[in-house]
Amino acid sequence: MTQWLEVCDLTEIPRLGARVVNHGALAIAVFRNADDEVFALEDRCPHKGGPLSQGIVHGRKVTCPLHGWNIELISGCAVAPDVGCAREFPIKIEAGRVWLDPVAAVSAAA
């Protein structure tokens, strides 16, 4: 069962940028790319836990600010040859509003 929670307006997330969404102790990075697609990943890089929300977004990837791993926004997984995945959450846009399910984390196959 997906439990959608309303996050914010799409315009509140910078294009090619991200916002941090807190849910209890969990920090989720919500990204928006140039084509206005949105993605939600746990804000922890699979390498050494860097805050992915602070990275540079390009295409459907984000570059981690700490050591420059590239992470696929769709799956949360590192671009080869690096290995590891950040948890990914269901997210959608409806009528310009962003909705997120912070519970149903999809743990992409590592």
């Binding site: 941090v20 969404v21 590239n70």
Partner: protein, 672 residues
């Protein structure tokens, strides 16, 4: 051949070139008696000069190989068995031969091309886009003659193929402009390296090192202060380094005295050249940043079939952070893959998103007045929709430095530190370093700092080497409040920007002081405050030659002397420790300001993003800088004015965020 080598005794190899010698060596190792027939006066004349070739011949003779030089083959003699039994020469001599190997060079078979009406001359003639005389037909590889050269090595052929692929995909304007190739002979125990114009001649100078007893010979050919070729025998560890100097067209004037002694002797106090790739053991560390040992690299190269420096970086992380071990990694690559190692192409593109070089991109931005990153990417036909972390940050800098006040400064194309105006730490918190002009502070500033530390429970306070105070472990959402409470200017410790101007107490206090170095430093810092640059910029001013402010390792260092001020440029303290070079001595404070500013603006306009001043000056040469700053008075004034204009537009980013509420979103998180 392998079969023949087990049955017969005498082999003759015709052609003493690279392939001939490799074949001869192979046959000899399989037990045959091998003679190499060569028409030229010395071996490998396309790669070696005579002294190097003599050394090579001597060591091959010691291994048992025989040489018949300046012999022209007349005839192969058939024996009774129907098989060849001897070889006859024009001068009447002959030699026994059960096996003859011809290795007399490549000659493109141009029959088909010629019969189709394509112009051929030692190959199918092509232009810089690899098109033949019929533009619908392209030609690449060993059969193509580009600017009179048909290349017989894979590295240039890869470059040609890349150009054609671009052209066919209508990806625009990349051109093949010829390659400088390097050669190694794959015969164990023989170290030989040759590259470029190794013979020299009119307009060139040569530096020679010859030790016939020790079996070492080196020659470097220089034209117009650039290395254009070289040949080495016996000691080739610096081959990769020379080749990169040659390929990049680096000005070697200032290295000249030490050039022959290799990279280790050229002022690099980093740890890059301490060990030599070949003599290292597998457990020796190569990359100190990422803890990568030689064995890891060799293993990755072998198992994953890696070919280029980029590949090795991606797979092992070696040389991926600070880059100081790049030379060593290249050496390991060369040693591990041998002659198949193809050096990175001559011109380096900005990143994987484009074929264009930094210089191309800068020129296009200037000439076409491009003002946004998407405009540049569209105009220059970027391969990716919106670049990557490395080209976007560079583009953003090129735009704002070329068109200050007009180009858009895109926060999403700035590294997080420059977006948050604070340094991200390993736990995701930030550090704040407020500016203290020239390292001076006041009781009220110190009180405010102490109060802020208490109020925001800041866990660590550190005095930096840049004469100011670092507050560490601050939560991102607290940053604007911390800045507001501090009420001090941004220190830009987070930016590719002017960091600190370190000063000593100078003539105001010091019994040795000749000039008021503190005030000079404060004036410089205030003048150049908010200056973005290709990389971080650090200045220092000392009040006398005792030099307590350590100006010798700064981008611009000023030493006060009794009669004025000495200006030094392009020093560096980091990975590559480099002593600053003397630029000029001036009389007045106003001159210090103008000369320093003009130098910094030149760097801002011409350096590649992420090059420090040391890298920039190394590339263009100090003479060039002198021409621009010292000789061209109008030019210097114009440079200085452009800098002052650019700085007049910048605002203190902390004030904007703390007091004017700008970019509030950047610092606020959401909650669900």
């Amino acid at each position: 051949m392998i079969h023949a080598s087990s049955q017969y005794q005498h082999a003759v190899v015709i052609g003493g070139g690279l392939l001939g010698l490799e074949a001869a060596n192979g046959l000899m190792k399989r037990g045959m008696q091998v003679s190499v027939v060569h028409i030229g006066p010395w071996l490998m004349e396309r790669q070696l000069d005579e002294p190097a070739a003599r050394l090579l011949q001597k060591s091959l003779e010691e291994k048992g190989m025989k040489f018949l030089l300046q012999k022209q083959t007349a005839e192969l003699v058939q024996g009774e068995s129907g098989r060849v039994c001897a070889i006859k020469f024009k001068d009447g001599d002959s030699a026994p031969a059960d096996l003859v190997v011809m290795a007399v060079g490549i000659r493109p078979n141009t029959e088909l091309a010629e019969s189709s009406g394509l112009h051929c001359n030692r190959g199918v003639v092509v232009n810089d886009t690899m098109q033949t005389f019929d533009p619908r037909i392209y030609s690449v590889g060993e059969c193509a003659a580009h600017r009179g050269i048909a290349y017989g090595l894979v590295a240039p052929l890869f470059e040609q193929a890349k150009v054609v692929a671009n052209h066919l995909a209508q990806h625009g304007i990349s051109r093949y402009q010829g390659s400088v190739t390097s050669t190694k002979l794959k015969v164990t125990g023989i170290d030989l390296f040759s590259a470029g114009d190794f013979m020299g001649g009119e307009g060139t100078e040569s530096i020679l090192y010859s030790d016939p007893i020790g079996g070492v010979y080196k020659k470097l050919v220089i034209r117009d202060n650039k290395l254009v070729g070289g040949v080495m025998y016996g000691d080739t560890v610096d081959g990769a380094w020379y080749f990169s100097l040659l390929r990049d067209g680096k000005n070697v004037n200032e290295l000249r005295d030490h050039l022959m002694f290799g990279q280790d002797h050229c002022g690099n106090l980093g740890h890059s050249g301490i060990n030599k790739a070949a003599s290292m053991t597998d457990d020796m560390e190569v990359c100190g940043c990422n803890g990568v040992c030689k064995g890891d690299i060799v293993k990755a190269i072998r198992e994953k079939g890696l070919f280029t420096l980029e590949d090795v970086r991606k797979h092992t992380k070696a040389s991926g952070s600070c880059g100081s071990c790049t030379g060593l990694v290249e050496q390991i690559l060369a040693v591990t893959v041998g002659g198949d190692y193809s050096a990175t192409p001559k011109t380096k593109s900005m990143c994987g998103c484009t074929e264009h070089t930094h210089e191309d991109v800068r020129a296009a931005i200037r000439q076409n007045k491009l003002l946004t990153i998407p405009q540049v990417q569209q105009f220059m036909e970027w391969d990716t929709p919106n670049g990557c972390a490395s080209c976007r940050t560079a583009l953003n800098y090129y735009l704002i430095s070329t068109w200050p006040g007009e180009a858009e400064d895109d926060p999403q194309s700035r590294f997080i530190n420059e977006r948050a105006h604070a340094n991200i730490q390993k736990d995701g918190t930030y550090s704040v370093i407020p500016r203290m002009w020239g390292g001076n502070t006041t009781p009220s500033e110190l009180r405010r700092i102490a109060d802020v530390v208490d109020k925001y429970s800041i866990p660590a306070v550190h005095v930096t080497g840049g004469q100011r105070i670092d507050l560490l472990g601050i939560k991102k959402e607290d940053l604007p409040k911390v800045w507001a409470d501090l009420d001090m200017p941004s220190g830009h410790a987070y930016g590719k920007a002017l960091r600190t101007v370190k000063t000593c107490v100078g003539s105001e206090w010091c019994r040795f002081g000749t000039q008021n170095s503190t005030q000079m430093g404060i004036d410089l810092e205030k003048a150049f405050f908010k200056m973005w640059a290709p990389h971080k910029v650090k200045l220092a001013v000392s009040g006398c030659p005792r030099n307590c402010a350590e100006v010798a390792i700064k981008d611009v260092g000023i030493i006060g002397v009794d009669s004025g001020w000495e200006i030094y440029v392009a020093g560096n303290g980091g990975i590559k420790t480099e002593v600053a070079q003397f630029l000029i001595k001036v009389k007045t404070e106003a001159e210090v300001m103008e000369y320093s500013g003009a130098f910094l603006q030149l760097y801002r306009e011409e350096a590649r993003y992420l090059d420090r001043t040391v890298h920039y000056v190394e590339r263009v040469g100090l003479d060039y800088v002198k021409k621009k700053i010292l000789d061209d008075h109008e030019g210097r004034k114009a440079l200085y004015e452009r800098l002052i204009f650019a700085l007049s537009i910048e605002k203190d980013p902390w004030v904007e965020r703390a007091k004017e509420g700008k970019f509030a979103q950047e610092f606020a998180s959401l909650t669900v």
